[in-house]
Every structure is written in structure tokens, then in C-alpha cells.
Symmetry: C2
């Protein structure tokens, strides 16, 4: 029973973090569509702030023992790669 | 056993959040001592960013069911009150 609960919280923690990463990606996508200026300082600021927020969540989950440190790093760098790909696709339009 | 584990994670979650709030308070204190300018935009930006980071952690813990929403709000507003008090003490020097 205790193991089940632990796994449940771990899964939920990872799911929440992934959902938050997707939300950031979507926000950045919307920003790119509407601002059409990835060089805009506001864009950079929003991205930095959002990435910082997610990194704080991940760090918290790792310290709680709900997510492994390498999983957390991978989640963050995967998001970074996706944002870069979005960025590239948008500048090549 | 399962209940114990759950309580353990809840306590740990709250402890971590409180420790993070204390870290922010300390950082703001150091900034005030050294910058001696609470009106400085950099100071505001650091404070906003740190508060945002903590609010993301708290929100995550609430969504995971580890911290009650009202506990989370109280933790954040308690930190805000402490920062204000620090701010006031520093401007009255």
C-alpha cells in the first residue's frame, strides 16, 4: 500500500511537471505567433521567468524525492530543445 | 504505514517551502544591506522573480495534495509581510 501511494505521487508529480512544460511551450508558441519578434526583450523575459518557475518546481520535486535529478534535468532540457526548434521554425518563415 | 509516509511527505514539503521562503528573505536582506536602494529596479526584479519561483513551488505542492491551498497562500503572504517589514526597517535607517 505504501509503495503504491509513493508511486502514485511520483507519477502525478512527473505528469504535473510535464503538463507545466507543455503550457510554457504553448505560451511561447502563442507569443511567437503574435509578437513575431523572438528578439524582443519581453519575449526573452517571459521565457526566462517561465523556465525559472519550472526549474523551481522540478528542484522542489527532486528534493522531495518524487522525481530523480536526471529525470528533472532531462525534462528541462527537452523543453529547451522544443523551444529552440519552435524559435528556429518561426525565424525561417 | 501508508498514512505515515503521506504525513512524512507533507511535512517535508512544508519544511522545504518554508526553508525556501527563509532563503528569499535572507537574499533580500543581503541585497538591502549591499545595494542600499530598495527603489532599484534590479532589487524589484530579483524579488519578483524569487516570489514567482516560490509561488510555482507552492502551487505545485498544492496540486500534488501535499500542502493545503490556504496554507500555501499564508506562507506566501507571510513572506510578503516579512519582506515589507525588512523594507520599512531599511528605509527608516
Amino acid at each position: 500500500m505504501s509503495v503504491e501511494i509513493k508511486i502514485g505521487k511520483r507519477e502525478k508529480a512527473y505528469e504535473l511537471l510535464q503538463a507545466d512544460a507543455q503550457k510554457i511551450l504553448k505560451l511561447i508558441g502563442v507569443q511567437m505567433e503574435n509578437l513575431t519578434m523572438p528578439q524582443c526583450p519581453l519575449y526573452e523575459e517571459v521565457l526566462d521567468t517561465q523556465m525559472f518557475g519550472l526549474s523551481r518546481e522540478i528542484d522542489f520535486a527532486v528534493r522531495l524525492g518524487l522525481v530523480r535529478a536526471d529525470e528533472g534535468r532531462e525534462l528541462l532540457s527537452s523543453l529547451e530543445r522544443q523551444v529552440s526548434a519552435l524559435h528556429e521554425a518561426s525565424t525561417q518563415k
